[in-house]
Symmetry: C2
Subunit: 508 residues, 2 copies
């Protein structure tokens, strides 16, 4: 019964690798002809999971079937993720096999049947997810099985620990290690660099990793990058934190809770409200980053992620329970989630706002300053750097210029402070009549900023000159559009002039 495996048999034609140029994000996909000998003999169907091997490396990929117009019968196209993981070269001989069964998925089936899973089961599931062994469909099944309050608090703890330990974990020589996080974004809500500057000025350790924009016109890392380099590796980040006590760097390359990024890719399109996944997502990143004390900003509003004070209360209780179980002290704060914050929307424009607050400019947006002070006060209380409510200490660090000097020092340590770029193309949009601003549509606001080029063009975005409830005269500017090219300006302006106008005006 010995003999060669069929795929190495002399009679079977060799299937060769081809980089096909399709980016399926983290999911490796292989594109093959349904009539090729491998699909026929192995019985591989559309969406089958296939083990693809190439010169000693192997990856589990999802099969997409192609017609003869795309690929010859003896070629297999590889998605960017599969290409990367196999280190393949065009023309490499590939081998194919049925993948070994995904053992941890039997735990997902148990969860589907309503059973409580143990810590070991969550570890196995998360390890397989982080290794890319789950297909999109399997991820959707796992996320669904855990949604709808079907995971107990103990299960959220197990899931959080499993996610944190599936990637890199940071440790810091000092204690406490403070952090802050905002649940669901508000346009312009760029408090983080201000909070870091105040906390570090007060002597706390705050090694902040931030994300780039996923669907918004700017993430914290995008805004910070207009002020200093943010793509630091772990060694460089440590050096900054040792020297200055804090940093604001991009966390994307640090492999913190990598399963989280993969799960988010499925949760976003499904749009589930699952407290369990949300808590595990936030706290696994913090646990992996070595944080011991975390302030969580929970904006509450009709169009925010958390829609009511009651829902916020339930979520905050879960965050506190799980945080305590994994050794993180949590202080969660409900904030107003109905309005954009600050004046600028877009990386450089948001950076200008936060610098104005740090410098104490009289024109600095007061709402951004107030929110940053409130969150910084909670960080100081949590880090035992105040005996009161923290507001007066936080205000003192800001108003004395200590926070601004600390922020400049952090930027220098990260590689050198920069001046945010200014867009060459600017256009004012004015009120056609005297009116009261009835509402500002956050979604349209974000759309206009992205049409103008944000966040890819860092100077692009818009500046708000009026807010909800304010009275504007005829011809008074409502907002200024910023763009780096005339084409983007024309494109965004056409949308803002048309049905995409973000301001709703009530003529007086």
């Amino acid at each position: 019964m010995s003999g060669s495996a069929h795929h190495t048999d002399a009679h079977s034609p060799v299937i060769r690798a081809r980089r096909i140029g399709i980016d399926t994000y983290q999911e490796p996909v292989v594109f093959m002809r349904a009539d090729c000998h491998v699909c026929r003999s192995e019985g591989f169907q559309v969406q089958a999971r296939v083990r693809v091997s190439c010169r000693g490396k192997s990856v589990i990929a999802t099969l997409n079937v192609v017609t003869e117009s795309l690929l010859p019968i003896d070629d297999a196209g590889l998605s960017e993720a599969a290409w990367r993981e196999l280190s393949a070269k065009d023309g490499d001989a590939l081998e194919f096999a049925h993948p070994e069964p995904l053992e941890s998925f039997s735990s997902v089936r148990r969860k589907i049947y309503g059973l409580e899973l143990g810590a070991g089961e969550y570890q196995a599931i998360v390890r397989d997810i982080a290794a890319g062994r789950y297909s999109g469909l399997e991820l959707a099944a796992f996320v669904t099985a855990c949604a709808g309050d079907r995971v107990s608090l103990n299960e959220i703890v197990a899931l959080t620990r499993a996610m944190a330990t599936a990637g890199s974990t940071l440790t810091w020589p000092r204690h406490p290690v403070v952090d802050k996080h905002c649940i669901g974004g508000l346009p312009g809500n760029r408090t983080t660099p201000i909070v870091v500057a105040i906390a570090a000025a007060a002597g706390l350790t705050m090694p902040k990793t931030s994300s780039r924009a996923i669907t918004s016109p700017a993430g914290t890392a995008d805004a910070m990058e207009t002020l200093a380099p943010v793509a630091l590796d772990l060694t460089a980040m440590r050096r900054v934190v040792e020297k200055e006590g804090g940093c604001v760097v991009w966390g994307g390359a640090m492999d913190l809770s990598p399963a989280d990024d993969i799960l988010i890719r499925v949760e976003r399109p499904l749009d589930f409200d699952s407290d369990g996944q949300l808590v595990a997502s936030v706290l696994s990143k913090k646990l992996a980053a070595g944080s011991t004390h975390v302030v969580i900003d929970v904006p509450v509003g009709a169009t925010a992620k958390v829609r009511s004070p009651g829902a916020a209360k339930v979520l905050i209780e879960k965050l506190a329970f799980v945080g305590s179980a994994v050794g993180i002290e949590i202080r969660a704060v409900q904030t107003d989630g109905t309005e954009p914050v600050g004046r600028g929307v877009g990386p450089a424009l948001e950076a200008r706002d936060l610098v104005a607050v740090l410098k104490g400019d009289r024109s600095a947006p007061a709402d951004l300053r107030d929110r940053a002070l409130r969150l910084a006060a909670e960080v100081l209380r949590l880090g035992r750097k105040t005996v009161g409510d923290g507001i007066s200490e936080a205000t003192r660090y800001l108003d004395s210029g200590e926070a601004w000097r600390k922020f400049q020092a952090i930027c220098e340590a990260q590689g050198g402070m920069r001046t945010p770029p200014m867009a060459p193309f600017r256009k004012d949009f004015t009120a056609p009549v005297a009116a009261r601003v009835q509402a500002i549509d956050n979604r349209k606001l974000a759309r206009v900023a992205k049409l103008a080029g944000a966040p890819t063009s860092p100077a692009a975005g818009l500046e708000l000159h009026a807010r909800t409830g304010e009275r504007v005269e005829r011809g008074q500017p409502l907002f200024t559009l910023h763009a780096q090219t005339s084409g983007e300006m024309a494109y965004a302006a056409a949308y803002a002039d048309g049905h995409g106008a973000p301001f709703q005006l009530e003529p007086l």
Copy 2:
């Protein structure tokens, strides 16, 4: 606030359609550059759902992101399904928008939260699924939410009705309209044409629609096609049934319960054991086909779909309850699911087996004959064509030649009877020593038959000469491999000679 939508604005470059040659089965997919103006401005990310419009037609597609090596920035590639539904031509101008919210998915969210859904909700969900509005991830979430005994019997009834009415429904002037179905396939278990011939000979109406192979070496439609045309349209099928009382045609083009085909595409890779979906799948097809009395063959065995008599009992009770609620009388029969049935595996070889049974050849496989008689007897009882257990009547129709004459007449009515093709390449595999057959591996058996070319090459497959428990002498043939080309023969033989040998022998 009037104005042109941005995607028709003069400043935005036009995105043009390109047929990209990727077959994603029923799911429409659009392939675009992440840096194209549409993705940037609309904020479309990988896996986003996008409404794509082309000259008045529109479709909701899933976005895959491509690099510049595959497509220029102003081109959008369309999968085969999207191309078909849009009736697109190369170079057509496309428009893109966020799709309207998928209202019925809020019912899926309610189901995820454990609530019981009403008939109207299942109708809306199934209508959207049949219309292709659910992405793969959304389908996986729905299937998961319904798995694990989370749907009540009343919900299975509602789902069954919704699935049946989402496509075409057939009505027949005569009553009863009998049918049979087998849950999970066994290699060679080709009883259907024999049962149809006996039932029609007895005067019953049995308009049988069958499927082609999905993962097996032959489906009933594939085997039947070697004896007569099976790709009949509804009018032609009606003519056959009116004239002869029965038919065996391919149901794939008849749009019976189209949501079922879409759900199966997701259920198969997830491999869920969900009685609810199984019952709705089987009975929605029967309800849509206009069947009133259905015999269901439930093979039970360790490697069969139903693994224990207890599980079979639970499933049969659900089938009976739901059948009764939707007006179908069900008789479910547990049968042996441990062994392949008959001698041939592959379309033509299975056709030869069933013709041998119908003709009463002394060499006809007794196991196939016995199973067909048992199921035909149940059909006769259900159709009130016997006062006893039905076995003697069924046997009489078979042994008298009436069933064989009826089968020939059905084949003629379907377009003319054919002789199944014989493969030009045949090779015997013999026992290397005197031995007892300990087991036959159904999975390897199917693999060898598919390597030889089945079901695409109708004459390909294999013939079994020994069965489990039998004693074989040295040099005695175990099976004969059939192939239509020397390449396929060499390829299948290499596998069968190697670790793919389907016979497990115990030397004596």
